[in-house]
Amino acid sequence: MVQALRIYCALVGASFRSQMSYRRSFVLEAFSKLLITGLEVVPIFIVFSHIETLAGWTQWEVIYLYGLASFGMAIGETITSGMKDMPALVRDGELDRVLIRPVNSLVQILGRTTRLHHLGRLAQGAAAYFIAISFLNVDWTAAHLFLAVSSLLAGAVLYASLFIASGATCFWTTESGETFNAFTYGGVDMTQYPITVYRPWLRFVFVFIVPVGFVSYFPSAVILGKHDPLGFPVFSAYLAPVIAALFLSGVLCVWKLGMRRYESTGS
């Protein structure tokens, strides 16, 4: 485990140094990512220029939700950056090289090309998250602190899992699972508003199937002292880490299944 982490870090370091040889393009990309994602917040301000609250949530509370999702997604996306190479790895047989090295294949793939421009979204997500907190009057009890940290990390793990799942589809199909973007980037769009504003079926999908709503909405509602009209038990808020862990282990099973398929078909 420690060994795997060391290798992961070494690989990330190598991909950073690789990209630094194209310094200007990195700076431009990171900056444009920051701008583009920065614009995502604008609709929230527009909505709140017309209304006071949305399903009982104020402007900064909604921005907190958005920041939580965006920051978590950015962490997940950065960690699993190499997954975006999966289509090329499978197509060009580069995956074979990964398999003849004495290190876990997932570790090698995740770390191989960590894209620096993700730092743009990372910065934006963190900014939205912390600025929102500074405008809110949160009573930072130990329980609230636990919920804040655990919901952020659970979100990161969930989004990372989704990116891994999307890479794993390459074992069965020629394209990387673009469909998963609906849950990753779409998930951020979804969870920036309190889930109570959505129709029940959509709520169901983002709470129980792809639980990104679960890990952001319930803990945030408790932290911000919101009444939950859905009537979920209070402990739901504390389940975020458990849910993220379950989801991740499910995705890892799918990954292993895909690897086994690759070993028997080589394509």
């Binding site: 060994q3 060391r6 290798i7 070494a10 690989l11 190598a14 140094r17 690789s18 990209q19 040889s21 194209y22 060009d92 047989g93 580069e94 074979d96 090289r97 398999l99 003849i100 090295r101 004495p102 290190v103 589809t169 069965w172 199909t173 020629t174 394209e175 699972g177 673009e178 469909t179 998963f180 070993e263 028997s264 078909t265 080589g266 394509s267």
Partner: protein, 334 residues
């Protein structure tokens, strides 16, 4: 039980694929997960062979003959359908990571070096991946840099190196963890004559000085002749020749083809009086194919004979192709 000096052993090794159509999109993926439609292809059919430690073996065959499928089973990438496979006493697909420590691989068309970084950084990373202790790594590096004459290259980003330089760096990378068996796939592809010779010299040194077992797959029969004592030829998934390179060479001779483009238009009947060992095999307009036995007749001699009799626009000498070798092995057998 495997022989103590046995590096590679296969018995009745077979691999058949159910080739399924790759579908697009996530629903295609889900369907592929459950569907069984597709055709079975037997890529490798009952291959049995045994390679001792320290051997330098050529493994050749036409495209799609089952070469790379065999190599993938030896490296643990693919699980065989049936049969036995052992590399240094380990069943590769069962203990892929343990096997990985024993083997090295160079794929001529791909690189395992980090493209935008200088080789030295790749070596340090590989040292971590293969768990070579730092001081030990530096010692081995010094040795390899010396062996492959890399001192002027290792600080330059790989993308700026020439093909030949890259291949030398690549070989060093594959040897860093002191593999007992080295798999080489087309290591001289794309190199010029000087580059090829350099790489061959290095390969010979690895095999002779360190006793590393080498399995070389190549389309370039010159590579095989220059390096290997033993050649295994595979076609349609089955071994059709396993013996010395000399005996293989007796089968296909040392034939080359000189292709001549005449300057003065269509070739006349009774094209030219050719020296012994050369025969015209084909004439098409101004182009003439002359096959010659390089043991009897050198290319310059033949070219000179042609040039004294005709105005020539262009000349090329072609090596015998592996497909031709395979054809001759079959015709010899029947």
């Amino acid at each position: 039980m495997s022989h103590p000096n046995c590096a590679i052993r296969c018995e009745g090794l077979s691999k058949s694929f159910r080739v399924m159509r790759h579908r697009s999109g996530i629903f295609g993926a889900l369907r592929a997960l459950f569907s069984t439609e597709g055709a079975d292809v037997e890529a490798v059919r009952g291959v049995s062979l045994s390679i001792d430690e320290g051997e330098f073996v050529g493994y050749l065959g036409p495209n799609g003959a089952g070469k790379s499928t065999t190599i993938k089973m030896l490296t643990g990438i693919l699980t065989p359908s049936s049969g036995l496979v052992e590399v240094c006493g380990i069943v590769p697909h069962e203990k892929r990571r343990e096997n990985a420590a024993n083997i090295g691989a160079v794929f001529g068309q791909r690189t395992q070096l980090w493209w935008d970084l200088p080789p030295i950084e790749s070596y340090r990373l590989l040292g971590k991946i293969y768990r070579v202790a730092r001081s030990e790594l530096e010692a081995r590096l010094a040795e390899l840099i010396d062996l492959f004459e890399l001192s002027s290259l290792i600080e330059t980003p790989v993308r700026k190196l020439s093909l030949g330089e890259k291949m030398r760096c690549e070989l060093a990378a594959a040897l860093l963890h002191r593999p007992r068996v080295l798999f080489l796939d087309e290591p001289t592809i794309g190199l010029d004559a000087v580059g090829k010779e350099q790489v061959r010299t290095h390969l010979r040194a690895i095999n002779q000085e360190r006793g590393t077992t080498v399995v070389l797959t190549s389309h370039d029969l010159d590579d095989i002749e220059a390096l290997c004592r033993r050649a295994i030829v595979i076609d349609e998934g089955q071994i059709i020749h396993d013996g010395t390179v000399d005996s293989l060479r007796r089968t296909f001779g040392h034939h080359r083809t000189l292709v001549v483009d005449l300057a003065g238009g269509a070739a006349p009947d009774g094209f030219a009086t050719l020296p012994n060992g050369a025969t015209v095999t084909q004439i098409e307009g101004a182009r003439v194919w002359i096959e010659f036995d390089a043991d009897q007749l050198s290319a310059p001699q033949l070219i000179q004979a042609v040039l004294t009799q005709h105005d020539v626009h262009d000349l090329t000498v072609r090596e015998i192709a592996i497909e031709e070798v395979v054809r001759r092995i079959y015709s010899n057998k029947s």
